[in-house]
Amino acid sequence: MIGRRFRAIGGWLADADGADRVVPRGLHAGLSVGFLSAMMAFLAVLALALALAAGRLAHSWESEIADTATLQILAGDDGIEEQARAALNVLRTTPGIQSVRMVELAEQERLLEPWLGPDIPVESLPLPLLIEVQTDRDMLNVPSLRLRLEAEAPGAVYDDHAAWRQPLVVTAERLRIFAIACLALMTLALAVVLGLAATAATAANGNAIQTLRLVGARDDFIVRAFTRRFTFGAAAGAVLGTAVGVLLLAFLPQASEQGFFLVGIGLTGWGWAAPVLVPVTAAVVAWAATRRATKASLWRWS
């Protein structure tokens, strides 16, 4: 059964009986199918890159939320040491806290400089004491930690960045869904347009189809001739469009660690293999759409 299927596909690809030749090579129709599918493929590659990048971003932000937190200790000069000690004590006895590190004043200055400029005397600002905490999200119970800190070190504010990162994660997730929806719509649009093109092609070649039927061609022979023509046209166009899209992505500036979101839209690692799916999908869609359309119109033409 599976062997037969494979042989059928092989025969279709090889076109042993030269079904292709019987469809007149309409330059115009052929070009427009290729061109259309090239455009769709180009857009699909961009949408695909967007989907992958948004997914990557959401994931990395989410894991950052999961893994790091800061503890700020705001207190008068006198109480700060004591509060810090109390807070560290709480952290050490909390399951899910993996490591704790004091952020030096010099480091804080460096972190603030891009925001405030080099000329502001940072020493004069009432900087809090900063403790960087590595956490294990699964084990950590944040509300209980907050309660204990409140009791033992009231000047300590636990911040797991969720407040400002979470909306970004949600945005990235939505962007990803949006990009995937774009891909789905493009696939659908390609199917519809190729179906229309195939119907138009059979109509334009009504005489040829009639002649073929009169000399004894079966429907599947004629359908194969048209689907092959369209499938290869669409696949060739899609390869071209994909190549242009991938080249464009390759020449985008690469994302740096802190880079603004859009800079990171390029492909990475295995992501570079994903665009291969675009021409493959285009070919399968073209095959299915033209097969359906030609089958339906053969009844009308003979």
Partner: protein, 225 residues
């Protein structure tokens, strides 16, 4: 064998054939005559299911084929070689490829039958036109190419609609000779024509029956031809 069983045909409301009963027995040779517009082409089109009778039935090799059984219709058209009145070709393919078209649609590689095709092309005197495109052919050349295409699959029945309409007398005789030879090989041959000279030329060479179409009815024609 093709049997008309009280078959009738009308285009929309216009009745062209009425109550036609007719048997085209294996190995028979028929001429179908009648003035233009009487329904010769219509009757022939019923012979390869290009049309389906609006009354009665037409049976092929003992069975009635449902028009919805499209593969059976395709198989019938391989068993019935047709020279159409308007000789449709695929204009983007060479004469050679057009003549080999029935082979191609049957999945037989043309290379396998290259010898047959060459011989056939010589027979219809198109040997030097193999690479031409159909629109470059004269009316007579088209009809010769159509005849070659009709017989390439060696069908049981050969239906020719005015096959000598566009050729000179020499070529008409040659085409007739080819059809007579095919009939001697056991093929059933039906020729629609209004050329009575062709029928006279056939006399003595083949036991042909002449059918006259008039008023939607088929009658045997008298010996006055």
């Amino acid at each position: 064998m093709i049997e008309f069983d009280e078959a009738g045909f009308s285009y929309g409301g216009t009745s062209v054939l009425r109550n036609v009963s007719l048997t085209l027995a294996p190995g028979s040779f028929h001429f179908l005559i009648g003035p233009s517009g009487v329904g010769k082409t219509t009757l022939l089109r019923l012979c390869y299911m290009d049309l389906v009778p609006t009354e009665g039935a037409v049976r092929f090799f003992g069975t009635e084929i449902a028009p919805s059984d499209r593969n059976a219709v395709a198989a019938l058209r391989r068993a019935v070689g047709v020279v159409h009145q308007d000789c449709q070709f695929l204009d983007h393919m060479s004469v050679f490829e057009n003549i080999a078209l029935p082979l191609r649609v049957s999945g037989i590689p043309a290379a396998e039958r290259a010898g047959d095709i060459e011989a056939l092309l010589e027979w219809v005197d198109l040997g030097d036109r193999v690479d031409a495109l159909p629109p470059e052919l004269s009316g007579g050349e088209r009809q010769r190419a159509a005849l070659a295409r009709a017989v390439i699959l060696s069908p049981d029945v050969i239906v020719a609609d005015e096959p000598t309409g566009n050729v000179d007398w020499d070529m008409a005789q040659r085409l007739l000779a080819l059809l007579v030879e095919l009939n001697r090989m056991g093929k059933t041959v039906v020729i629609a024509t209004h050329d009575l000279n062709l029928i006279r030329a056939a006399k003595g060479r083949v036991a042909a029956r002449v059918l006259r179409l008039a008023n939607g009815q088929v009658q045997p024609a008298g010996a006055d031809l």
